[in-house]
């Protein structure tokens, strides 16, 4: 469960990157966050994860306010950033293990989970090498593994599918579905509208920091009284006036 109320952020007090955004993502839902480049998706996600502070508004994750109950809120989610080029000097296994330590994953489940995740993402043979030697998609996968190893209630993923091969992408989507179906929350941003259309229970479309639409795909078609694809609706919504 993620709740945003009246969240606003402007960089250097000039343009508002995110403007008075309110969203509620209940449990058991995969929520897709769509919008053109520079719309404010990453900024919103960074505010949810505590990386930047909103100028105004409130953010709660599973009822914990990120500004006041910071640590409790941070324990609720796992976050995959948009750029996976981090911790390059660590070995993949060291990174995943580091994340497991930070989130206090007990030894017994940790081994099992790491091996299982490695298998599902086809990373077993890469775990012993430094992340620097990974391809873009492999770096993306190790970041995702670092999150999944601690079984967070809420997944927050910034463009997790870019760079993944078809199998890994399929695996991740499958896992997102399983996660939501077990009564937990997935929040992710993407530019791949076909994926959003098929995978998400609900989507929000943001442009220039403002939410233009939030709801199910069917609601959107109803709203526009058309049977067009998400893609054409998206283009319609976000086109320049």
């Amino acid at each position: 469960m993620i709740e945003l109320t009246g969240v606003t952020k402007s960089y250097n007090n000039t343009i508002k990157a995110v403007d008075n955004v309110s969203l509620t993502i209940p449990k058991g839902e995969i929520f897709g966050f769509l919008g053109p480049n520079g719309a404010g998706k990453t900024t919103t996600i960074k505010m949810i994860t505590g990386i930047i502070r909103p100028n105004a508004g409130q953010i709660k994750i599973n009822g914990k306010d990120i500004a006041t109950e910071t640590l409790a809120a941070k324990r609720q989610f796992g976050y995959v950033p948009d750029s996976p080029d981090m911790f390059l000097r660590l070995k993949g296994l060291e990174y995943v293990s580091f994340m497991a330590d930070i989130y206090e994953v007990p030894q017994k489940v940790r081994n099992e989970r790491i091996l299982q995740l490695a298998q599902r993402f086809d990373m077993t043979n890469a775990l012993g090498d430094t992340i620097q030697s990974y391809s873009h998609g492999m770096r993306q996968k190790i970041m995702i593994m670092g999150v999944l190893v601690h079984h967070p209630e809420v997944w927050i993923l910034d463009e997790p599918l870019t760079g993944l091969d078809p199998k890994s992408s399929y695996t991740l989507k499958e896992m997102m579905r399983e996660h939501a179906d077990s009564g937990r929350t997935v929040f992710f941003s993407t530019h791949v509208l076909e994926v959003a259309e098929k995978l998400c229970d609900r989507v929000a479309i943001i442009n220039k920091g403002q939410i233009l639409f939030c709801g199910t795909f069917a609601e959107m078609q109803q709203h526009f009284q058309s049977n067009n694809s998400l893609e054409s609706l998206f283009l319609e919504l976000t086109k320049h006036e």
């Binding site: 950033p81 390059l88 296994l93 007990p106 890469a126 775990l127 012993g128 620097q132 030697s133």
Partner: protein, 555 residues
């Protein structure tokens, strides 16, 4: 040609300013400037005074021109040595290379732009002593407009030849180490060997000259007689520096112009050589610079168990820092290895003196006598602070995270804990330096057990103090937008602060012990109490205000 300038401009902009955030608030930049001023101005002043004295002495025997010859030669040497570092970081370890390679640019354009960037850094550094030398000479010799015109030209052209030389050395090295799987390790060993060679070379030179460079008169004597190995070598290595000096000396005559012209010609030829060699060497060496070794094999069971063993969040974080410090060549050179190398290098001037035996014996006797005991202890303390201050591990702890820093904020551990974990490697490394120094002292000076115990007692709080101070500086002036790890530690002025703080604290400790004439025990107890209290205060500030400062770092 214009493309070269354009490229170099972009490279410089991309590297960012050397201090903190671009938009760093006014007082922070002011503070930094002040710190640089405090650090640099006295150096320049002492340099000017020394040069003026040397000039006067040489002028008596009509040899003042030797000052210029020697100056230009020494500057060339310094530029050559620094050039190796600059070329490594600008040519190889700055990540813009990979973006440049696919552009429709001729190789010589990329090379030229990189050369200009390195040259620019050289100008900045040689401003410290070379500019004062030229001006001092000009004022003393009553040089006219033409002299200063020549001087400006010489200032701009002198770095070219030595920089070409260092570029050639580095390019050759990188080209021929660009083989095999463990390139990084190979290069590291090569680099270490080079350092050892340089240090050994210096030791030999020092042994030759020790006792003969103790005052200005002797130095004049030496310059005039030309009987110094080092000076001869330097002038032979940079023969063109003589031309520059002759051009300046004769700036009021036609011969000066002739010398200047031939000096410029030498520089021009060296540039041509640079382009010619660079075309052959550079791109082969730089391609795949970011390649890392990979086995792509399943991790075997026992190694797996070892790697996934659970640790507390604090230890896990500290270990992560530690691993990155040891595995990143730039950090290894500047943070980890320097803590071992510095104490060892400090030995060389002592050991390489011809009379080192007697000196040490008399020192050791006096050192632990009662009246000098207090001061000796304070001196030891100052030495520990100095090695801690010269270590830039803690003062770059935030900066080293780069863009990954922001991920810290999404982790469910208190910021204070992160800061403490980040402090650990720096403190450990400084303690290693201290232990090495103590071991050396025990070996050479037969330090008494009491003295050693006192050293440990005061050294540890002193080291913690410098490290706490360092991380606080970095919290206020982090430089997160670097494009290469080299930039994070090298093109960063924050270590200047810890250097200054350690010099200041060490100096005050010595002065205090001297003025009070305190005994060893009093000094030990006094320094321990003082720095333990200071540590406690700084620690309190770090855990209460540190998180607030950390929160404020946004990009």
């Amino acid at each position: 040609m214009s493309k070269i300038f354009l490229l170099s401009k972009i490279m410089m902009k991309n590297a960012g300013s050397a201090w903190g955030n671009k938009k760093g608030s006014g007082w922070k930049s002011a503070l930094l400037l002040l710190a640089i001023g405090i650090g640099v101005l006295p150096l320049m002043l002492v340099g000017v005074m020394f040069m003026a004295g040397l000039y006067d002495g040489l002028a008596l025997i009509g040899q003042e021109g030797a000052l210029l010859g020697l100056g230009v030669a020494l500057v060339s040497l310094a530029i050559f040595v620094l050039g190796i570092v600059y070329v490594l970081s600008v040519f190889y370890y700055s990540q813009d290379v990979e973006h440049m390679l696919p552009l429709p640019l001729a190789p010589w354009q990329i090379l030229g732009a990189k050369f200009l960037v390195a040259l620019f850094y050289e100008y900045l550094t040689s401003f410290l002593l070379f500019a004062p030398l030229l001006v001092t000479y000009g004022v003393k010799s009553g040089g006219g407009v033409l002299y200063y015109l020549f001087a400006l030209l010489v200032y701009l052209v002198v770095p070219i030849f030595p920089l070409v030389l260092s570029a050639l050395v580095v390019m050759l090295f990188m080209r021929f180490t660009s083989v095999g799987k463990s390139k990084d390790r190979f290069r590291l060993i090569g680099g270490l060997l080079a350092i050892v060679a340089a240090v050994g070379f210096q030791a030999v030179i020092q042994r030759q000259t020790s006792g003969r460079m103790d005052n200005i008169e002797q130095m004049q004597q030496m310059i005039v007689n030309g009987d110094n190995v080092l000076l001869n070598l330097v002038t032979q290595l940079f023969p063109a520096s003589k031309l520059a000096a002759l051009a300046l000396i004769g700036s009021d005559s036609w011969s000066g112009l002739g010398y200047l012209a031939s000096f410029l010609l030498v520089a021009a030829v060296s540039v041509v050589v640079f382009f010619f060699a660079g075309n052959r060497l550079y791109f082969r060496g730089v391609m795949g610079i970011s390649e890392a070794m990979a086995k792509r094999k399943k991790v075997d069971e026992s190694a797996f168990q070892k790697l996934v063993r659970p640790r507390s969040a604090l230890m896990a974080y500290g270990l992560k820092e530690w691993r990155i410090l040891w595995r990143t060549p730039a950090y290894l050179m500047n943070c980890t290895l320097s803590s071992v190398l510095l104490p060892v290098i400090a030995l060389i001037p002592i050991l390489s003196r011809q009379d080192s035996g007697e000196m040490l014996a008399s020192l050791s006797a006096r050192l632990q006598g009662d009246e000098a005991g207090g001061i000796s202890l304070a001196v030891a303390f100052a030495a520990f602070l100095a090695v801690a201050g010269a270590n830039s591990t803690s003062v770059t702890a935030i900066t080293r995270d780069g863009q990954g820093f922001f991920l810290n904020k999404s982790l469910p551990i208190p910021y204070a804990k992160i800061l403490i974990a980040k402090l650990m490697p720096g403190i450990i490394l400084s303690v290693v330096s201290m232990l090495l120094l103590l071991a050396e002292g025990g070996w050479l000076l037969q330090l008494s057990p009491v003295f050693v115990v006192y050293c440990l007692l005061i050294g540890i709080p002193g080291i913690i103090f410098i490290n706490l101070f360092g991380i606080m500086v970095d919290l206020h002036l982090p430089k997160l937008s670097w494009s290469s790890e080299q930039e994070a530690v090298k093109q960063n002025l924050n270590p200047l602060f810890t250097l200054l703080a350690s010099a200041l604290a060490g100096g005050l400790a010595i002065a205090g012990a001297f003025v009070m004439g305190a005994s060893m025990t009093v000094v030990a107890v006094g320094l321990f109490a003082l720095f333990a209290i200071l540590d406690l205060i700084l620690y309190r500030i770090l855990v209460t205000k540190g998180p607030v400062w950390m929160e404020k770092i946004e990009a």
